[in-house]
């Protein structure tokens, strides 16, 4: 039987959402081509996670080992090399996440498997697959094909495949012996470091006024801050603003920052790369201001304004002040 393998992603005892998304997509593909879905679960003390996965897949390939307590690309590569050499899956799905980006390219190169990264669409095409991915920060989509024979590896963007509720499967947990030994690793896990707690918790705000690359200079931030103050909103931002050290990390909305669900989210000068959208798509109402009418933010916003932020924001501020008084 042909097999699609999903590599489960979990951290500190919790399965990450991308795993369910990949299983869901994997099952949809498997039904179309007459394959089964196996979930590779590597860890230590993860039998509870295995039980949770069991009814969702044909099997859980469980590799338990003390050396797998924390993720490490080197142990993952060793274990998965053995597993995939034995099982020869038609397709392997891995998250295009901080974890998947760290081990999938090396594993694919080691196994000489064709790899397509950060895919948002996967379609079966005979014995191969057709992929959709994004270029230029999400402004362009591309159709990509494999040039070589499988088995194939695809890394999947978080949130690209919403989980579809499917019937339970009579899954089984298959214990796979680990090949890891105490031979030295060139890379050793030390610890996790939590994000520093800041003065402001943007996840608690009802109104967020968020700035992005379009703000251009740190000196322009007060302009938006005054507007935020006028409506009683809290200032937040997208990644480029934090990278440039204009606002502290605790103000960052997005995959590597905070996930927020305010009543109103106003995105100013934010193009709407998926890493940002992933952190704010739960907002009640989204108002986006951007000078590029094709900015991806407009496809997730409730209301859009195509304008130069430096022209429109001062007008908005004055209007709010005037109308609040009246």
């Amino acid at each position: 039987m042909k097999e699609i393998i999903v590599v489960a992603e979990h951290r500190r005892g919790e399965l990450r959402d991308v795993t369910w998304e990949m299983i869901s997509k994997g099952r949809q593909l498997a039904e179309g081509i007459g394959a089964e879905v196996g979930v590779a679960l590597l860890g230590k003390g993860v039998t509870q996670i295995a039980e949770a996965l069991k009814p969702k897949a044909h099997r859980v390939l469980l590799v338990e080992d003390d050396y797998l307590e924390a993720y490490n690309s080197e142990t993952y590569e060793k274990v998965l090399t053995q597993l995939m050499t034995e099982r020869k899956p038609l397709l392997t799905l891995i998250g295009h996440t901080a974890m998947g980006m760290d081990f999938a390219p090396g594993l694919a190169a080691h196994l000489k498997m064709p790899l397509a990264t950060d895919c948002i669409g996967i379609d079966a095409a005979g014995e191969t697959f057709s992929l959709t991915r994004q270029l230029y920060g999400g402004k362009i989509n591309a159709t990509v094909s494999f040039l070589k024979k499988g088995p194939y590896m695809v890394t999947v963007r978080s949130g690209a495949f919403p989980p579809i509720e499917k019937g339970a499967l009579p899954g089984e947990v298959v214990s796979v012996p680990s090949s890891l030994t105490d031979e030295g690793l060139a890379r050793r896990f030390l610890q996790y470091v939590e994000a520093a707690v800041g003065e402001v918790d943007i996840t608690q705000a009802d109104i967020l006024v968020s700035i992005g690359r379009g703000i251009k200079e740190a000196d322009n931030i007060p302009l938006v801050k005054e507007f935020a103050d006028a409506i009683g909103g809290t200032l937040s931002c997208s990644r480029p603003v934090v990278d440039k050290k204009w606002l502290p990390k605790d103000r960052q909305v997005g995959t590597s920052g905070k996930t927020v669900k305010p009543k109103v989210y106003i995105a100013i000068g934010i193009s709407g790369a998926f890493q940002h959208v992933a952190g704010m798509k739960g907002a009640g109402t989204v108002i986006a201001i951007n000078k590029d009418p094709k900015a991806p933010i407009f496809s997730v916003a409730t209301y859009g304004i195509v304008a130069d932020l430096f022209k429109i924001v001062p007008v908005l501020k004055e209007k709010v002040k005037a109308l609040k008084k009246s």
């Binding site: 090396g106 009802d206 920052g257 108002i287 590029d292």
Partner: protein, 263 residues
């Protein structure tokens, strides 16, 4: 401490109106400004910071035509010692895997303790070259590094995870690290700075100098190929507010009042 940094020159599309070019396989690049890939600017800055502290050589590599000299010179102006451009008509159509293979052959000729790349490129966003490079060179790696500290024959790195969490590893040198944006503040390069390095030689290496065969690189060596590009579907999209700024402002006020956006 000898450091090799791999960089790429890319079109700046963050603020640009992007349209599909005639080939249907790439965007229309006429009228776009080009610059050093943003992730790579943090990688080269990190290399130069390390060199300033520990000494050694910083060599910067790029695959591309003569246009790429512009980005290589920017790195030289920032403080890199040497620049090498890998160029050959046979390289056209190379995917992420082949890109890493070409770089690995060039790096084998250079003494190194540490290799830095950007985590990904702004244009194709594969996010795989650095990690494949480590595999091909048979050395350890870490991706998405947002802090690093060199110790004797080791490097301690922080990897940026989701939700603000970081993961700390200790890695033996030599190693490849893919650098995340925000790790430092890339220095400003003045026109005078660029002028000072304008005459500096940029060596070029092609397929034969890299001990590669033409069929191993370009499209024929690649695992994936781009078929076509298209504009992303817009979905339902936003209700656009139009009119004079004053009128738009009134509409925004009404929306804020209605949706709980005034406190």
């Amino acid at each position: 401490m000898n450091i090799v940094v791999c960089i790429k020159r890319v079109p700046e599309t963050a603020d640009a109106d992007v349209s599909i070019g005639k080939s249907g396989k790439d965007i229309d690049k006429s009228g776009l400004a080009f610059d050093l890939n943003e992730w790579d600017s943090y990688a080269i800055e990190e290399a130069i910071l390390l060199k300033e502290k520990l000494g050694g050589m910083v060599t910067v590599l790029s695959i591309g035509g003569e246009d790429s000299n512009e980005s290589l010179r920017k790195c030289l102006a920032m403080g890199a010692d040497d620049a090498v451009r890998l160029t050959d008509p046979a390289f056209d159509g190379s995917d992420g895997f082949v890109t890493a293979k070409i770089l690995s052959e060039a790096i084998k000729k250079i003494p190194y303790d540490l290799i830095l790349t950007g985590t990904q490129a702004e244009d194709d966003g594969y996010g795989q070259v650095g990690v494949v490079l480590a595999q091909l060179l048979g050395i350890p790696h870490a991706a998405l590094v947002n802090r690093l500290e060199l110790q004797d024959k080791k490097v301690k790195v922080h990897r940026e995870l989701e939700g603000g969490l970081e993961e700390v590893f200790e890695i033996d040198l030599p190693a490849v690290l893919t650098i995340q944006t925000g790790i430092n503040e890339p220095r400003y390069v003045s026109i005078m700075g660029i002028r000072k390095v304008a005459k500096k030689e940029i060596k070029t290496l092609g397929v034969s100098a890299l001990n590669l065969k033409a069929e191993e690189v370009g499209l024929s060596g690649s695992n994936i190929q781009l078929e076509k590009i298209f504009l992303p579907p817009v979905g339902e999209g936003a209700e656009m507010l139009e009119g004079k700024p004053e009128e738009i402002a009134s509409k925004v006020f009404d929306i804020l009042k209605d949706k709980g956006g005034l406190a």
